[in-house]
């Protein structure tokens, strides 16, 4: 056991001419819930496949639980659990049979297997379903079973690739509660996701965009990044009586960099020259009242949107 659960140095993977993962450096401490974010096709799954030994590295190095992934991918496999993007269960096997199968694959002896299955079943509250075929479970239960199967051999490090894609909000909440529960017991989670609320819960997040890591830190650190909060600007939450028409006007107003809708209010990034009175007057003419204006700190979503715009502008600049 080393201090660092997952470490990469210039991790790179190419498919022909295409670079899917480019010089990624990550450090994940033991017991962290590491949220790995990025739009579709940015390279999240590929990073997981590199770290779990499913794909060979094209460049750089990686260590999982101190084991060199290049040198001993088989040893890595004994230490990790992996839940792939599609929950990979055998639909025609029952819950119990799926667990038994994976337990035997990991070579657990019969007594150990029985006690581990009991643990997993109670941990994931699978009790009522043990004799049901996996294919007949709903999304949330399938995913619990998949998680259970991936944890039978008591791995210290878990890789979950979009575990909450396509399941309902209640199941999503329950899964995250379970993850934090387990992380409290010292298990490290490497989780990819699209959901910002999930990212906000993580103790450590990183953002990958077009194969490159462009942000890495705690949610608070990222929200305080200078790139996201340029000098001389501030963020405001503007509550109005008509939010969509209001948004259009706010966007055109002088001193507003960027505005978007959140529920019943407009979130805007404005600079020093922004004239709040002037905006109120303009909206009044259109029959819209501003009910409240509050200062706002950047959310993770703001962070990722801002970084994505910057990165896009950079890439277009290079092409031009």
């Amino acid at each position: 056991m080393t201090d660092i659960a997952i470490r990469t140095e210039n991790l790179t993977r190419r498919f022909g001419d295409f670079t899917a993962v480019s010089d990624v450096n990550i450090q994940v401490q033991h017991g962290e819930v590491f949220g790995f974010l990025g739009p579709n096709g940015s390279g999240k799954t590929t990073v997981i496949k590199l770290l779990t030994g499913l794909l060979p590295l094209s460049g750089g190095d990686a260590w999982v639980d101190g084991i060199d992934v290049r040198k001993d991918p088989e040893e890595v496999r004994e230490h990790i659990g992996y839940m792939s993007q599609k929950f990979s269960l055998y639909d025609d096997l029952t819950v119990l049979e799926n667990l038994t199968f994976y337990g035997r694959i990991y070579g657990l002896c019969p007594e150990k297997l029985r006690s581990r299955i009991d643990d997993i079943v109670s941990q994931n509250v699978l009790g009522p379903y043990v004799n049901r075929q996996a294919g007949k479970l709903s999304g949330g239960w399938k995913q619990r079973l998949a998680l259970g199967c991936a944890m039978l051999h008591e791995p210290k490090i878990m890789f979950l690739d979009e575990p909450t894609a396509g399941i309902d909000p209640v199941a999503r909440r329950q899964l995250w509660d379970l993850l934090f529960d387990l992380s409290g017991k010292g298990i490290t989670f490497f989780v990819t996701t699209h959901y910002m609320d999930e990212a906000e819960r993580c103790s450590h997040v990183a953002y990958i965009y077009f194969s490159k890591l462009i942000a890495d830190g705690t949610p608070a650190q990222l929200e305080a990044m200078p790139d996201v909060n340029p000098v001389g600007t501030r963020r405001l939450e503007i509550r109005t009586t008509q939010v969509t028409r209001g948004l259009r006007l706010v966007r055109k107003f002088q001193g507003v960099h960027y505005a978007t809708v959140f529920g019943q209010s407009v979130h805007a990034l404005v600079d020093g020259s922004f004239d709040q009175e002037g905006l109120a007057k303009l909206l009044k003419q259109e029959g819209i009242d501003i009910t409240e204006v509050r200062p706002l700190t950047a959310s993770l979503e703001d962070v990722f949107v801002e970084l994505t715009y910057r990165r896009q502008a950079e890439m277009e600049g290079k092409h031009a």
Partner: protein, 373 residues
């Protein structure tokens, strides 16, 4: 040192559940061969009998009628029509009413009585070469017999008599010859398809990728996949053998035990082959196509349909690389001729070699990880 077969027991456990769950498909897989055997065993008779024949007797004498009786009594010809002109005879053959037309000319009896050579004209529809060949042979034989009878004095015997005795399949029954070959082809198809599907399905579902992050070893994975289907192949073989003896009345002259034992390397060949296909194929449809493609040489180049002895050299060389070739030698050898291991060791040896090569090739492909993306 880790166990090189790690995961094998788990795989067998799981495959057996799959097989139990999918018992309909398995029943189908075991049942289809019996249907195919029935069609070939009862329906197809390659010995040509009862060829439809049209007769134009332009002579209409005692001699010509004797000749026609002789034709009628042979099993080869079945007289379907009597005609009274060359034109009608031609029409009957062109219109496929008959395959053979036999014309006895107006001077047949006169010439016989004068001691001259009498002629009988036999028109044969050559569109089916095997029918034509048989018709020619039999008509020549009847002519020869007829001639001899007239040349020899009454009571005199033939100086030389050939008495052919067909060993091993005395009635020259087609099923006896066809079914042992069919057995090899059926075993191959069922086991290749089943294993090819069994792995491609996991690829499509993504469970194979999941397996690759577990400590399961390629050999464990592969054997765990293959052994349950070896069991099915074996069951299949037993069903076929029982059907062979009870339904189709094909006696097994040699040792059934030897046949069962030698079928194991053959099953290994086809199971490993199915696995190899499934490491290449991306979908079940693709696996199906590939299995079919490899299935054809086993039908055409194994000696199942066309005897290897008469194959052109390139085809003969191909046949040496077709596993079914060797297994057909084994099944025909044991079932028809009562051959023992000392006659069949070479075929067995070839199957063991091929099986091992294919098995290791499949294991290697697994080692390189066939991750579907």
């Amino acid at each position: 040192m880790r166990n090189p077969f790690q995961g094998m027991n788990a795989m067998i456990y799981k495959e057996v559940i799959h097989i139990r769950q999918d018992s309909a498909a398995i029943f189908f897989a075991l049942f289809i061969p019996i249907v195919q055997m029935t069609i070939l065993g009862f329906g197809i008779d390659t010995n040509i009998r009862q060829i439809k024949t049209v007769i134009f007797d332009d002579n209409q004498k005692k001699e010509s009628r004797e000749f026609i009786d002789r034709l009628r009594n042979s099993d080869t010809y079945r007289i379907v029509k009597y005609v009274y002109s060359d034109h009608e005879m031609n029409e009957a053959i062109i219109g496929a009413e008959a395959r053979v037309g036999i014309k006895i000319p107006w001077d047949y009896s006169d010439r016989l009585l004068k001691g001259e050579t009498a002629q009988v004209m036999v028109l044969i529809d050559g569109s089916d070469s095997s029918v034509a060949g048989q018709a020619i042979n039999v008509s020549a034989a009847i002519g020869l017999e007829e001639s001899l009878k007239r040349v020899l004095a009454v009571g005199q015997t033939l100086p030389v008599e050939i008495r052919p005795k067909v060993l091993f399949n005395p009635d020259s029954r087609s099923p006896n010859f066809f079914l042992p070959g069919l057995m090899a082809v059926l075993l191959l198809s069922v086991t290749t398809f089943l294993t090819a599907f069994a792995i491609v399905r996991e690829k499509e579902k993504g469970t194979l990728e999941q397996l690759f992050v577990t400590p399961v070893k390629p050999m464990g994975l592969l054997l765990g996949k293959i052994l349950p289907y070896l069991g099915i192949g074996f069951t299949e073989l037993c069903i076929i053998l029982v059907a062979l003896v009870t339904i189709f009345k094909v006696p097994i002259h040699g040792s059934v035990i030897l046949l069962l034992v030698l079928s194991i390397p053959y099953l290994f060949v086809s199971l490993s082959f199915g696995t190899l296909i499934s490491t290449k194929a991306r979908s079940q449809a693709e696996a199906m196509q590939m299995a079919f493609l490899t299935f054809l040489p086993s039908i055409f180049f194994s000696g199942y349909i066309f005897p290897r002895e008469t194959m052109p050299l390139p085809f003969y060389i191909i046949s040496m690389f077709v596993p079914a070739t060797y297994f057909i030698n084994i099944t025909r050898g044991i079932i028809l001729r009562g051959a023992g291991l000392r006659h069949l060791w070479f075929d067995a040896f070839m199957l063991v070699i091929m099986g091992s090569l294919l098995f290791f090739a499949a294991a290697r492909r697994f080692q390189k990880k066939v991750v579907a993306t």
